[in-house]
Amino acid sequence: MRPLKIVVLAKQVPDTRHVGPDAMKPDGTVNRGKLSTVFNPDDLHALELALNIKDRIPGTQVTILTMGPPKAADIIREGYYRGVDNGVMISDRRFGGADTLATSYTLVQGIKKLAPYDLIVGGRQAIDGDTAQVGPQCADKLQIPQVTYVEEILEIKEDEIIARRRLETGVETVSAPYPVLMTVHGSSPDCRSRKAKKVMQYKYARTKTEMRKGDPVLEALHIKRPHLVIPEWSVEDINADVTKIGLAGSPTKVKSVSSIVLTATESKVLTDSDSDIEGMIKELIKHHTIG
């Protein structure tokens, strides 16, 4: 089997799984500063799926692509620590405020620059929006087929790839020709951990923006080891139409946001005593709630 060229789409997200009480401001808006950022969990599964193919087919090239603010370069480093061959950042203030349509347009402009490719993988969805839209939208814009909710790659053949999908009510095995875009379900294997050797090798990988404050030691190192400079693509680098990116390219807008207030009910507070519980059961039977 020939080696494949794989692009992994990954996103840095606020950790919405651990939203503490201080994550909301008193006015009900999200206090982003109080949320730590993480590698989107489903995207880690996608990364594992790609690295697993690389294990099975030596010579396979895995490139990790992310769009985000300068801080999102963490995603590229995390990719390197786990074994990707290349990493590219798409980063420019003008990309900010993008909804899924503008995001997929932007990513696709980047993917086109990485062409040719056999396989594009990303997580099923990101925990900051749970939309699961960017994968299928990229596939549409690239005019390639999509296979969503992939749990396992069963077979990699010369002209097609066979995968098992996890649906709400069961599983489905499908074959698809290359190039194809897959979104990866959280029920697929967890991502391997960082390799100490790779961490040593790539911990000084930086984007130009990260280096803007100047660091003579790192600059010298980057001259010696150019692979530590993480490519950072701007609007011009990917030939993006400014009307299709960022806020301007995003049809969906947030009209208003309200924090969820638990509507307080007047509760009867009981103990676990026999009389309390018997009293409650009798009331429920009397009101025909039970019985």
Partner: protein, 339 residues
């Protein structure tokens, strides 16, 4: 007059529950707009399928009937839906937030270059004033959804790129017959003219779908446990209570993640939304992810060691105590007092 359009899912000549919910919700929006309700259904052997859904008040039903359209595959369905949407130019398009809808809707949104709001739980019609343009946009779709892990509700609108599309969570919209004798115009679609061979490049080799034996949505009584239940064995207590009361057992995401109970019994934002007559929450703290899926229960009993558990704010009865003590007593006094 611009229409409201619903994509219907069908398998083995049975229209999906979610699609019936969507048609009901779509009809309510259409009524507010004074607009017709349109729908599309694609599958095989669909002759007479309209009888299942016409009563929801569909004015025009597009039917793509071809053996290759079932089971669902992305590309042929996308080609058919995009074609009809371009022709009909509806104002609002709704899909189920299901494996199928979440696969199909974004592909179509990309093709039509329009906005798509995911996992909506409330749909409404309203206006919006755009300050920059000094224009008041009338009769927009308000697609309201939980966001940020369920800590907030966001109202998402889209005024400049049509149509306005949304996927809608299963079980949140009420099914409602509009008119049992509603006259629906059925329009067969020429599938061969629209789809090409290249739309079938992804092949289904094998398929295994389990008919779910769990029906939380229609259960009048639900006994649900959270992480506080502590073990799979303790869940048996909950099952006993549910059996005796004629109800079903459910669990919070934490209980499912801990392996105490099956995934298909999960209640909440990422599980099933329920509205039972009685909801008994045992060892559930009440994260918004959970309460969003059960707060419309008519009566709520919370059993928790922690008198400050957030769920207590929703409960009609708050029992502070150990569920290992409380539940056996509930069973005992129920048996004694029920006729």
């Amino acid at each position: 007059m611009k229409s409201v359009f619903v994509y219907c899912e069908v398998e083995n000549q049975k229209v999906a529950e979610i699609s019936q919910e969507l048609l009901s919700a779509g009809k309510r929006l259409a009524e507010k707009l004074g607009a017709p309700l349109e729908a599309m259904i694609n599958g095989k052997d669909l002759k007479g399928i309209e009888s299942q859904i016409a009563p929801y008040g569909i004015d025009k039903l597009f039917v793509g009937d071809d053996s290759r359209l079932e089971p669902y595959r992305t590309l042929p369905h996308a080609a058919l839906v995009a074609k009809v949407l371009k022709q009909e130019d509806p104002q609002i398009v709704l899909f189920g937030a299901t494996s199928v809808g979440r696969d199909l809707a974004p592909r179509i949104a990309s093709q039509l270059n329009c906005g798509l709001t995911a996992d909506t739980t409330i749909l409404d019609i309203g206006d919006h004033f755009v300050k920059k343009e000094k224009v008041e946009y009338k009769d927009l779709l308000y697609a309201i959804r939980p966001a940020f892990g369920g800590s907030i509700m966001a109202n998402i609108i889209n005024w400049d790129m049509h149509p306005q599309m949304a996927t809608v969570r299963e079980g949140v919209m009420k099914k409602e017959i509009f008119d049992a004798d509603y006259k629906t115009e059925v329009i067969p679609v020429n599938v061969n003219e629209i789809v090409s061979d290249t739309d079938f490049v992804v092949k289904i080799i094998e398929r295994h779908i389990e008919e779910s034996d769990v029906n939380l949505k229609d259960a009048p009584i639900i006994v649900a446990g959270g992480y506080g239940v502590g073990s799979k064995e303790n869940f048996d207590l909950l099952k006993n209570l549910a059996n005796i009361l004629g109800g079903e057992v459910g669990g919070s995401r934490a209980a499912v993640d801990a392996g105490f109970i099956d995934h298909n019994r999960q209640i909440g934002q990422t599980g099933t939304t329920v509205r039972p007559k009685l909801y008994i929450a045992a060892g559930i703290s009440g994260a918004i992810q959970h309460t969003a899926g059960m707060q419309e229960a008519s009566m709520i009993i919370s059993i928790n060691n922690d008198p400050e558990a957030p769920i207590n704010a929703l409960a009609d009865y708050v029992i502070t105590g150990d569920l290992g003590v409380v539940i056996p007593k509930m069973i005992k006094y129920y048996k004694e007092n029920a006729k």
